[in-house]
Structure formats: C-alpha cells, structure tokens
C-alpha cells in the first residue's frame, strides 16, 4: 500500500514535470527540423538541419537585438544595484529630513499598477525626444522601488556598531556602503540582480511602445514583431528566434536555479 502510493506520487510528479519540460524540448528540437517534420511528435528530427537558424539570422538583426538586450539589462541591473543600494543605505541608516516621506512614497509607488502610468510615461518619453533611443529603454528603470525596499530591509539588520566602527576608522558613507555593507549583503544583492535582469530581459510592452527601429529593438520585442509580422514565415524559424532568448536564460537557470527561484519569488511577494 505504502509503496503503491509512492509509485503513484512519483508517476504523477514525473507526468507533471514532463508537461513543464517537454514543450521546451519540443521547441528546441523543432528548430532543427525541416518544415515537413515540424508537425510530428518525435523529439529527434530525422533530417536535422540548421536552415531555420540561418533563415532567422538572415531575415532580422537578432545579433544586434541580443547585444541591445544585454546592454539594456546589464546597465539597468548595475544601476539598480548601485543607485538602489545608495538610496536604501540612506533610507535605512542615515537620519535626514524627508526620509519618512521618501519611505512612504516608495511604499505608495508599489501600490500603483503600471498601466496607470504607462501612457503618461510614454508621452513623457515622446516629449523628451527619447523615442528610438537607449535612454527610453534604460532611464525609466534606473531605480526600482521593490529593490530599494528589499535592500533597505536587509540593511536595517546590520548592526549599528559596524557603521560606527567604520566611521571611527575614517570611512565616508559611500565607502561604508561598498566595503562593509555590500560584502555582507550578498544574498539580497544577488536576489535583486537576478530579478532585475530577468525583468528587463523579458520585458516586451515598454519596448513595443518606445522603440520602432529594428536595430534598437530588444530580443523579446524583435521576436514578437518578427513572429507576428510574418517575417518568420514558418514555425521552425519563429521558434529558432525564440531560442536566442531562451538559451542564455536556461543556461543561467541551470547553474543558479536556487537563486532564481528565491529572487523571482522574493520580488513577487514584496512587490
């Protein structure tokens, strides 16, 4: 009875896991299949081909999009970590006028759904003349309220005597932040880094609004436009272009799986 139940449990889990993994495996294999084979259930193509990738690469600037995505996501992640931690440090550990107001405003920002500010932000970008620039993709994301609150929460738990010691040792506030707080805050910093990077890497709606020129598009945007506009022409090509977006993430996920889960869950619960 007991073993029977265990077998049942593992079978159930295996089937469930398969439904989560198999579509991605199918997608990966489909990109290597010639058009005639895409409709089949077989996981391994009988005539493997790289044609889909060649076509995809030739028809749209995916290399450029990859660089754009990396540039945008990396810049935003670094900014959120550096600027965000500076802000969080001030909000957690320094007494200054306006601190309570800033705390309240940060909490308030999290309650406002993004759709409310989407259009006014878009008109702002238009008026600033930032349409079709990296600035439009990066600057509105330089600070992140969720990240600031998470870092602030972490910084609050670091003992005051460390700050005092560092001040007596002759450090300024920025130096205390980067040489004392940062090394002690690796867990929260890695969480913030992953969810910020992933958020930026996967974002579609905002780039769709502010970027129209193909060579400035980020990967998910180009992918969407490419697949929708019929540029792909076939399932294999469209899935091949999706692979450019998926492969780096899956590789990173394979190595940092625990950090990924913690950080995505953490950002959602806090935000």
């Amino acid at each position: 009875m007991r073993t029977l139940r265990r077998i049942g449990l593992y079978t159930g889990l295996a089937i469930a896991a398969l439904t989560f993994i198999y579509p991605f495996l199918w997608m990966a294999s489909a990109t290597f299949k010639p058009l005639s084979e895409v409709g089949t259930l077989a996981l391994f193509p009988t005539h493997a081909t790289l044609d889909n990738y060649k076509t995809m690469w030739a028809r749209a600037p995916f290399g450029r999009a990859l660089i754009n995505s990396l540039l945008v996501a990396t810049t935003i992640t670094i900014a959120v970590l550096v600027f965000g931690s500076i802000t969080a440090y001030a909000m957690a550990r320094l007494r200054f006028k306006g601190r309570p107001a800033l705390n309240a405003a940060t909490m308030g920002v999290l309650l406002v759904p993004g759709q409310l500010t989407l259009i006014p932000l878009y008109t702002l970008i238009v008026q600033l003349g930032w349409i079709d620039t990296y600035a439009a993709l990066i600057i509105p994301y330089l600070f992140n309220a969720t990240a600031i609150l998470m870092m602030r929460q972490f910084f609050l738990q670091i003992p005051q005597s460390l700050i005092d010691s560092a001040r007596m040792d002759g450090m300024g506030e920025l130096r205390i932040l980067f040489t004392i707080f940062w090394p002690l805050s690796k867990p929260v910093l890695s969480i913030v880094a992953i969810f910020t990077f992933m958020g930026s890497w996967n974002e579609v709606l905002w780039p769709l609004l502010v970027v129209r020129e193909q060579h400035l598009m980020t990967l998910p945007q180009l992918l969407t436009v490419f697949s929708l506009g019929g540029g792909a022409g076939s399932i294999g090509v469209s899935l091949a272009s999706a692979m450019v977006l998926v492969v780096p993430v899956v590789i990173a996920y394979a190595f940092l799986q625990r950090n990924f889960i913690e950080s995505m869950a953490g950002s959602g619960v806090k935000g």
Partner: protein
C-alpha cells in the same frame, strides 16, 4: 549629525528626483490626460468628460473587461488548485526534490513572449503538438485558438501553466510554517488525509491563498503579450484584453487621453476587485 544629514540627503536626492519625474508626474499627468484629447502631434484639447463618457459606452472596452473576467474565472481556480496540489506533493520527503521544483519553475523564468509563441504552435489546429496527441489517442483535433469558445480558456490554461511554479514556491513557504505539533495533534485526533487537509492545511494556508489570488488577479488584468502574439485579440474579439485595448488606442489610434483613461479605469478596477476578493476570502475564513 550634520554630516549624516548632508550625506543622507545627497544620497537620497537622485532617487527623490527620479520618483518625482517617473512616478509622481506620470500619476498626476494620467489624471490630467483623462480630460484631454491628444494625438501627441497637435496641441492637446480640453475634452471635459468626453473620455469618461466614451469609456462608459464603449462596447469594445467592456468586451475586454468581460473577457478578463472570463479569463479570471478559469485562471484563478485552476491556478490555486494546481499550485496547491504541486506544493503538497513537493512538501514531503522526496527524491530529487529540487529537480521537481526546478522543473515546475522553469516556465516562470522564460519570457512571456517566448511562451506565447511556443504555445501558439502547441495549440495550432493542424500541426500543433496538443492536437497531435489528441489524434494519436483517437480524438478529434480542437481548433484551440480559432474557436471563440475555446480561445480564452486556452490562454488561461497556458498562463496557469507558465506561472504555477511561482505560486508553488509561495505555498511551499507557507507549508514550512505549519507547526509540527499541529500536524501531530490532528493525527492523534484520528483525522483522515482529507480531513487533515480540510481542517488544518487549507485554513493555515489562507494567507498564501489570498496572496496567490491577489497576485494572479493583478497579473490577469495585465494580460497583454499572450493575446497580442497568439490571437491578436480574436476570434470575434473574445481574447481582447484591457491592456491590449489600451495599447491599441495609444499606439495605433494615437488617442493618448483615451488610453490614459483606460489606464486609470483599469487601476480602479484592479483596486476594487482585489479589495472585494480580500473581503470575501477573509469572511469565508471567519465562517
């Protein structure tokens, strides 16, 4: 300290400025835009209550709202049930536990655009994987995304699939906090597995359930990339979402005032739905 105050203000100033420009200003300007007619090219025109009047009678908008409720009515129960089930399965001594968890979480880290493209192929009527399986076991293929009655449920199922790993983590965290003594006590009372779930686990997971419902509701109201990629809002506008309509008004029709009005209305709808949900679920527990 004077120095402390000075460094504090200096260090917080960029963020304060950022908040003013990219949070406070857009929120206020959203409320201004509601009263404007503006195509971003000519000068904005004061439109009084026109935008609101138009919204009230705009059947396309209300179609989108109704679609969202159809989406939620399928997505929410499915999401809660599947997340809870998987979490309960994972919350026992298992071999390869982190592998299972990682498998369920995999779609969460994949871009919504990719998932939408992948699933439009899986759902494809003639060459899709799902219909392939159906035909193999002797059933008739279903035109998932092209039949008005199945398109939204198909999208709801897909979104559930994409996000379930995330909510499993939330439930798993909640399950960790159920005290061992409670489980042992109810076992001594002679409760069956079902009774243990009904009278102990489920009530103690209420905070997580509220969180799951709230987050997936907000997420559901923000539905965009899936219909945008998979159906374009069709068939018969049955998968048109509110954000897709907002995007179309802003991007295709250049109606900034009206798009902003939709945004404000959406924020109000989300706020009141979440508020009502919390009330209802909270009361259910009191009973």
């Amino acid at each position: 300290m004077r120095a402390e105050r000075r460094s504090g203000s200096l260090m917080a100033a960029p963020y304060a400025a950022f908040l003013l420009i990219f949070a406070a200003y857009p929120i206020l300007f959203a409320l201004v835009l509601v009263f404007l007619k503006w195509d971003l090219v000519t000068t904005p025109v004061f439109a009084g209550a026109d935008n609101m009047r138009m919204l009230a009678t705009d059947t396309r908008f209300w179609r989108a709202v109704a679609n969202t409720f159809v989406f939620l009515s399928i997505h929410l129960p499915l999401q809660v049930a599947s997340a809870l089930m998987l979490a309960l399965a994972l919350n026992r001594p298992l071999a390869f536990r982190s592998f299972w968890r990682a498998a369920f979480f995999l779609p969460v880290v994949i871009s919504g655009a990719v998932v939408a493209i992948l699933w439009s192929n899986l759902y494809a009527t003639d060459v899709g994987l799902i219909n392939g399986v159906l035909v193999r076991i002797g059933l008739r293929p279903v035109p998932w995304l092209t039949d008005p009655s199945t398109a939204m449920p198909a999208i709801a199922a897909m979104v559930t699939w994409k996000n379930v790993g995330f909510y499993v983590i939330i439930y798993l965290a909640g399950l960790q906090y159920i005290p061992r003594s409670c489980k042992e006590a109810i076992e001594i009372e002679g409760a069956s597995t079902w009774q243990r779930f009904r009278f102990l686990t489920l009530p103690l997971l209420l905070p997580q359930t509220i969180l799951v419902v709230t987050l997936s509701t907000i997420n559901g109201f923000q539905l965009f990339i899936e219909p945008y990629v998979m159906t374009g809002g069709g068939p018969l506008r049955r998968t048109y979402s509110i954000v897709l309509y907002l995007y179309t008004n802003a991007f295709a029709y250049q109606k900034m005032g009206y798009a902003a009005t939709i945004g404000v209305a959406l924020a109000l709808i989300i706020g009141s739905v979440v508020f009502i949900q919390r009330r209802v679920i909270g009361n259910a527990e009191a009973l």
